[in-house]
């Protein structure tokens, strides 16, 4: 059978957003675990400022509400469940590209999260398998995707999300520069995916001399550029 090497616009879009949402699951869970640690014996003031960076309004009244909301509330676009469901929505359309083995890690995550949600589990550590399966998902994707363009699109999505989240959470220059480098590494492998004009703007802005995420205008400009960088 002649192997198709081109990707439809729809599949390219799904691959990119699968990469973004799956990375968001991973990072959000990572941050929630840090937050959960503070909650054990801390006060709301200790962790609330972190989440304001995700534009979450004060919809959760108690620590338990907040934890449940961040874990399972599908109406909250920043929740892990919302990101995992969106990742799955994209992945399910890509079975023959990413293969059933790769897809199965997301299936297991969704099943576990639903089970924990139904039991109203607030212990974030119960979702450790979601982290493990996310990493297994990426490993499986790298190993199994025969179409390299498809892999690079997913990796671009992953790197865009990583950079977006690092910027929102105001990580330092070294970390941001490294994330941007990683993103460009994948874009170089598949030409034509980045908007060159935006890329040159980001090249100009992500330099040590200019770097200042305390400057809201600078930060918002970076976020806007990062989110418009990939052409899918």
């Amino acid at each position: 059978m002649v192997k198709n090497t081109i990707l439809s616009a729809n599949k390219a879009n799904c691959l990119f957003w699968l990469g973004r949402y799956e990375e968001r699951v991973y990072i959000t869970l990572h941050l929630l675990r840090k937050c959960y640690d503070k909650m054990i014996d801390g006060e709301v003031e200790d962790y609330w400022p972190i989440w304001q960076k995700l534009d979450i309004q004060g919809i959760y009244q108690t620590n338990e509400d907040f934890t449940l909301g961040m874990m399972y509330d599908e109406a909250n676009p920043s929740s892990i469940m919302a990101a995992q469901t969106r990742a799955m929505d994209n992945a399910i359309l890509l079975r023959e590209e990413i293969m059933s083995e790769t897809l199965s890690y997301l299936e297991m995550s969704v099943a576990l999260m639903k089970e924990c949600r139904d039991k109203r589990e607030t212990n974030v550590m119960l979702l450790q398998p979601v982290i493990d399966w996310s990493l297994a998902f990426w490993g499986s994707a790298e190993q199994r995707l025969e179409n390299h363009k498809a892999l690079y699109l997913m990796m671009l999505g992953r790197n865009v999300e990583n950079l977006d989240m690092l910027l929102r959470f105001e990580y330092g220059y070294e970390r941001i520069a490294r994330a941007y480098d990683s993103l460009k590494h994948y874009s170089r492998r598949s030409s034509g995916l980045l908007d060159e004009h935006i890329e040159s703007q980001l090249d100009r802005l992500i330099v040590r001399e200019q770097f200042n995420l305390n400057n809201a205008e600078y930060k918002n400009k970076l976020l806007a550029f990062v989110n418009q960088l990939v052409r899918v």
Partner: protein
């Protein structure tokens, strides 16, 4: 046959966990809302002995070869009508007959590339064909993946029994698509999309065959050739479309104008011989429940052979003698509306009240061509593992009605897949096994010794 099933039955939960892991589901619309659910799997297999299978294989090949010849004939010379074997009313009044397909010669003369033949085994061991599904038969992916999983969770069972391999279905499909493609380009599986009830199967078969899963909008026709369109408008030629979209939605310029699922002008490309459509358009005329009655006659007419497989005893109210018989014996017959599928439009006379029987009689009198009636076959029950407290067996086994959908793949050759989809009713009082109506499935073992 002495089969130790303990390891399999003990592993049911593991099997279902693996099914969940691989997303083995089917979709159901209820009250307009789409829901996906796991297809309940029963670990106790249907077992078909080597000799029985040899008989079925021969009969299935024969039947599908005759059906392919019938389809060619209907859309070309119509000899079977002219010779009075099949009345023309049954052909031209069939919803599946499409005049737009007249004179089209599909690649290799094959119409029914994938045929799903539904059979049941009577208590006397006699097999009967209940239905021929020649449009878009589904279900092969479930036993494929079930076998993969059961071999993992219960290796000793497979080590100790001589069970024919069934995971080669994808190879059969791939070979057939390659035959039909004839080197013109890539092969695709065209799906209506995620919210189709068989979407899992579409994507799984694409993965296993190496075909591209194409969605509405991915394909277009230019100069009577079909192309798959890429993200930057690059394109690649398509030589074979295994379409899982119904005939009426395939080409909005020829059939249903409002269809967003099809490919405008694909019929032109098909007519020009530039693309193979798997299955061919217009096959519905041969899997019409009314035409079913004539299939054994087709075998004799086209192949000059005695039919190996038997139909269930069937009556056509269209014929006066059958009409009288059906009206007089409705209470003990099963009545089927030829325009329905998926287990719908099937009623058992014994389940109807006097008033309902009268209503049905009136419908038959009004439109005799629309109905067929069959004797209720006392088909063999199969054991299933039930944990709802109904079973009195120490092993938790109960007996339920089950059928077998056998798959026959026709490219250059006609080949029978050495397995099938065994569906069973979970309702102890029901003969309806369709997944859309709550049925489950089990693996089908063909023994090699």
């Amino acid at each position: 046959m002495n089969i130790k099933l303990t390891e399999l039955t003990d592993s049911r939960d593991s099997v279902n966990k693996w099914m969940e892991r691989y997303g083995v589901r089917f979709g159901v619309y209820k009250n307009g809302v789409f829901n996906e659910q796991l297809f309940p799997f029963d670990p106790v297999p249907r077992i078909i002995g080597k000799e029985d299978w040899a008989y079925l294989e021969k009969g299935l090949r024969q039947r599908v070869m005759a059906l392919n010849k019938f389809l060619w004939d209907v859309y070309h010379e119509k000899k079977i009508i002219k010779d009075g074997i099949v009345p023309e009313e049954f052909v031209y009044s069939s919803k599946g007959y499409l005049p737009e397909c007249e004179g089209i010669s599909p690649t290799g003369g094959v119409y029914a590339h994938i045929a799903g033949i539904d059979l049941v085994e009577g208590k006397d061991g006699q097999w009967y064909v209940l239905e021929d599904n020649l449009r878009i038969p589904s279900g092969a992916s479930y036993p494929m993946i079930a076998r993969q999983i059961t071999r993992r969770v219960s290796p000793a069972t497979f080590a100790s029994h001589a069970i024919a391999e069934n995971r080669g279905y994808a190879d059969l499909l791939r070979d057939m698509m390659d035959d039909m493609n004839d080197g013109r380009g890539i092969s695709v599986i065209l799906t209506p999309g995620r919210y189709n009830s068989a979407y899992f199967e579409h994507s799984y078969l694409a993965e296993k065959t190496g075909a591209t899963l194409a969605y509405p909008g991915d394909l277009y026709v230019e100069d009577n050739k079909v192309y798959y369109s890429g993200i930057y408008k690059e394109r690649t030629r398509v030589g074979c479309i295994y379409r899982r979209v119904s005939d009426e939605y395939m080409d909005p310029l020829v059939f249903e104008a409002s269809s967003l699922l099809g490919i405008p002008n694909v019929m032109q490309a098909y007519k020009a011989g530039n693309v193979a459509l798997v299955n061919a358009i217009g096959n519905g005329v041969a899997d019409d429940k009314g035409i079913y009655y004539f299939v054994p006659k087709m075998v004799e007419y086209y192949l000059g052979e005695k039919p190996i497989l038997q139909n269930a005893p069937t009556y056509l109210p269209y014929f006066k003698e059958d009409y009288d018989y059906v009206l007089a014996n409705m209470q003990r017959l099963v009545i089927k509306d030829v325009s329905e599928a998926g287990g719908y439009g099937v009623v058992f006379g014994k389940d109807l009240t006097e008033e309902q029987l009268d209503e049905l009689k009136a419908l038959i009198i009004d439109q005799p061509r629309r109905w067929i009636a069959q004797e209720v076959i006392d088909f063999k029950d199969l054991e299933i593992l039930e944990d709802d407290g109904v079973s009195t067996s120490p092993k938790g086994l109960v007996e339920r009605k089950a059928d077998l959908r056998a798959f026959v793949v026709s490219g250059k050759d006609t080949r029978v897949w050495c397995s099938g989809l065994t569906r069973f009713s979970r309702n102890p009082n029901s003969f309806v096994v369709n997944s859309s109506q709550g049925g489950g499935f089990k693996d089908t073992w063909v023994m090699t010794e």
